[in-house]
């Protein structure tokens, strides 16, 4: 789609000028009017440099008309010294000269009675005029040629976001493809290695393993990661013939967890050992859930507590109560604010991305390992950009930081 960019000819039109203002504003700046980019139409953008010798209380007025002969209606009023292009980087970018040009995005103009406003119509030609109004008089500029507001098909201001997202997605997909061909290294995650120890301990003591889901719903990433871990835990408890109890706060997560545990028991050849009542919703409210799970911990005394997912304030309630019972506790969360509580009260904690990496770590599936590798490559790129950006910004070279700025 072609943006219409029109430049008005510089015309000096003086309508009302008192002798005193002959030394003040002497000409109306040249304006540029074009379709506002990256929108759904109904808006045009007008830019102009500051007028010469601008006295205080000067305002710039933008007038619109559907015909070059008028009538013109007031569409915007900008105080001198305000509304510079540098304030809207999404449209104008980071050019230095933006600090010296005014702008106005115009979407409507005053009606015939001067009170109600009329929205601009997409596709209709409008004529624009700039008027400089100071306390001692008014100068009218020339009328531009017709400009139309149009619908746009792509937000060019989001191009950096789009390119980054595409590059990262390609890296992930390529890494997954690569992982199918060769084994990728993944470092030790102590919390996951301790899982077998915890489950074995529960089996020896003849006590249950309590798997506690977080508060987030099935659409959230940490819950998906938790379900993946649950699958491995269920497989192990089926192999060891240990009792597994799974608490949930969300019924959809419960349904998915039930299916997951059932499949795991089927794979282990122990379908008889699966009891759907062992995967249940205890409560749908945060603190009701906390109270219920604490009750289960204190009454039933499971030997191992595995807390995986997104947690909030109830995290410490779980972990501290569990610590009282002497159970071995393994927690994993991406909730930054709850990590300190888990770290101080649990035997092992999976922090942030370690939770996401857990399913790849436990299963060693190529597609999951590949995805993990892609994330690492993405992080490496960010590290390089961060260091380079800091060095360049220190030297007052800002193109890299601007390239990564969300506009």
């Amino acid at each position: 789609m072609i943006l219409l960019r029109l430049i008005a000819s510089l015309t000096l039109t003086i309508l009302v000028v008192s002798p005193a203002t002959a030394q003040l504003v002497s000409s109306v700046p040249e304006i540029t009017a074009f379709d506002t980019p990256d929108d759904a139409g109904g808006s045009i953008t007008v830019t102009w440099p500051p007028a010469d010798h601008v006295p205080p209380a000067t305002v710039y007025r933008i007038y619109l008309a559907e015909s070059s002969a008028g009538p013109f209606h007031l569409a915007a009023e900008i105080d001198a010294g305000t509304s510079f292009q540098s304030e809207d980087t999404a449209v104008f970018g980071f050019a230095e000269e933006n600090a010296n040009r005014h702008f106005a995005h115009v979407k409507s103009y005053a009606g015939d009675n001067g009170e109600s406003s009329t929205d601009m119509v997409t596709g209709r030609p409008y004529f624009v005029r700039l008027v400089v109004r100071s306390p001692s008089g008014e100068l009218r500029g020339a009328v531009t040629t017709a400009v139309e507001a149009e619908q746009n098909y792509f937000k060019w201001s989001k191009l950096n976001n789009f390119l980054l997202g595409t590059v990262f997605s390609i890296i992930i997909m390529l890494s997954i493809a690569l992982a199918r061909r060769r084994e990728l290294y993944i470092r030790r995650i102590p919390g996951l290695e301790a899982m077998d120890e915890a489950l074995g301990r529960a089996t020896e003591m003849g006590r249950a393993v309590l798997f506690i889901h977080g508060l987030r719903d099935m659409a959230q990433i940490p819950t998906i990661a938790a379900v993946n871990i649950l699958s491995r835990v269920a497989r192990r408890t089926a192999d060891f013939d240990a009792k597994l109890r799974v608490t949930n706060v969300d019924p959809i997560v419960m349904s998915v967890s039930q299916e997951t545990v059932k499949e795991a028991y089927l794979e282990a050849g122990r379908p008889d050992a699966f009891n759907p009542d062992d995967v249940f919703v205890v409560a749908t409210d945060q603190f009701s859930y906390a109270a219920a799970v604490q009750g289960i911990m204190l009454r039933e005394r499971p030997a191992a507590h595995i807390m995986m997912g997104g947690f909030f304030a109830e995290a410490l309630l779980f972990a501290e109560t569990g610590a009282q019972t002497g159970a071995i506790q393994i927690a994993g969360t991406d909730s930054y604010t709850q990590l300190p509580f888990f770290i101080t009260t649990c035997d092992y904690t999976l922090m942030g991305e370690e939770l996401y990496a857990a399913s790849a770590y436990l299963s060693r599936e190529p597609r999951l390992l590949g995805s993990l590798k892609g994330q690492d490559i993405g992080k490496a790129i960010f590290l390089v950009v961060l260091i380079a950006g800091v060095v360049l910004a220190t030297l007052d070279v800002s193109f890299l930081s601007q390239a990564f700025t969300a506009r």
């Binding site: 999404a90 945060q286 603190f287 909030f312 304030a313 009282q324 930054y336 604010t337 969300a406």
Partner: protein
């Protein structure tokens, strides 16, 4: 003795904490409260909105009964300020159990300031979906909230009659006990529709929001009961948050004292073990 201190019964600690909370509530003393820059920024933005004609603020209530002790005083202080400066308020809720709290705070502060429902403020109620509610409001406020919490059409309320989208608000404040500020309001609201946004949150969530203040996506933040007390200081009206600083200060001192005691006993225990080991070596 050292072993007993190392494994101190937690009920003794609970007793001290209980005393640290209960006793100061029954006494009357205070410490001067110095507002921080993040809280002051929220105050100044409201003053800026108040200086404009027909300033309008959207407050999102995203907390439940659990966090009410921290966030309800914050809400009251903000509403008191907004009503005093005659700024119009539209309230929504992203949590189902926040509606009752929002209603109580709005009614209480509106009655105190003599403000009228529908003209000066409105409660639009709860809508599920978090991010999609914000996206919906960003494009079409009336389509997302066709009626208020009490069934009145959005078109009939003076305070919402001219609101088409989030861009029509001069300031948006989210009072959050969960992740709604950084997970929903910033990526789906502020980044898309570029309105001034501030957050009020529980004290434990406050560290989460510092990167967004530094990047300018949040213009300010009120963190926890202490933040609410700072805001009450700025508006010159001490309320529950200010009185809550007494037990909070004392309890922090008690917890610090226990931590120091734990470390002293830890080092004494380590030294005793080292001495015992060296005696055994000599023997």
């Amino acid at each position: 003795m050292i072993e007993r201190l190392m494994n101190l019964d937690r009920r003794i600690i609970f007793l001290f904490v209980f005393a640290g909370v209960a006793v100061p509530l029954l006494m009357d003393f205070s410490f001067p409260i110095k507002p921080t820059d993040n809280v002051r920024a929220v105050y100044q933005q409201i003053e800026h909105v108040a200086a404009q004609k027909d300033g309008k603020v959207l407050i999102s209530f995203s907390y439940g009964g659990g966090a009410a002790a921290e966030l309800q005083p914050m809400a009251r202080a903000l509403l008191r300020h907004l009503f005093a400066r005659e700024v119009e308020i539209v309230a929504i809720s992203l949590w189902p159990d926040a509606v009752g709290l929002a209603q109580a705070a709005l009614k209480g502060m509106a009655d105190e300031a003599g403000r009228k429902y529908g003209t000066d403020y409105a409660l639009m109620g709860f809508k599920p979906g978090n991010s999609v509610v914000i996206l919906g409001m960003g494009q079409d406020f009336r389509g997302t909230f066709p009626t208020d919490n009490f069934g009145a059409s959005t078109d009939t309320l003076a305070v919402t009659a001219n609101v088409q989208s989030l861009a029509d608000f001069d300031f948006v404040i989210d009072l959050a006990a969960g992740e709604s500020i950084d997970h929903f309001w910033i990526p789906y609201g502020q980044e898309r529709f570029k309105f001034p946004l501030a957050g009020g949150c529980t004290a434990v969530m406050a560290p989460d929001l510092f990167p967004f203040i530094q990047s300018g996506q949040l213009i300010g933040m009120i963190g926890g009961l202490a933040g609410a007390a700072e805001y009450e200081t700025l508006i010159g009206h001490a309320d529950k948050a200010t009185s809550g600083m007494r037990p909070q200060s004392v309890t922090h001192i008690i917890i610090i004292a226990f931590i120091v005691l734990a470390n002293v006993t830890f080092f004494l225990s380590r030294r005793r073990s080292a001495n015992t080991t060296s005696h055994q070596d000599l023997a």
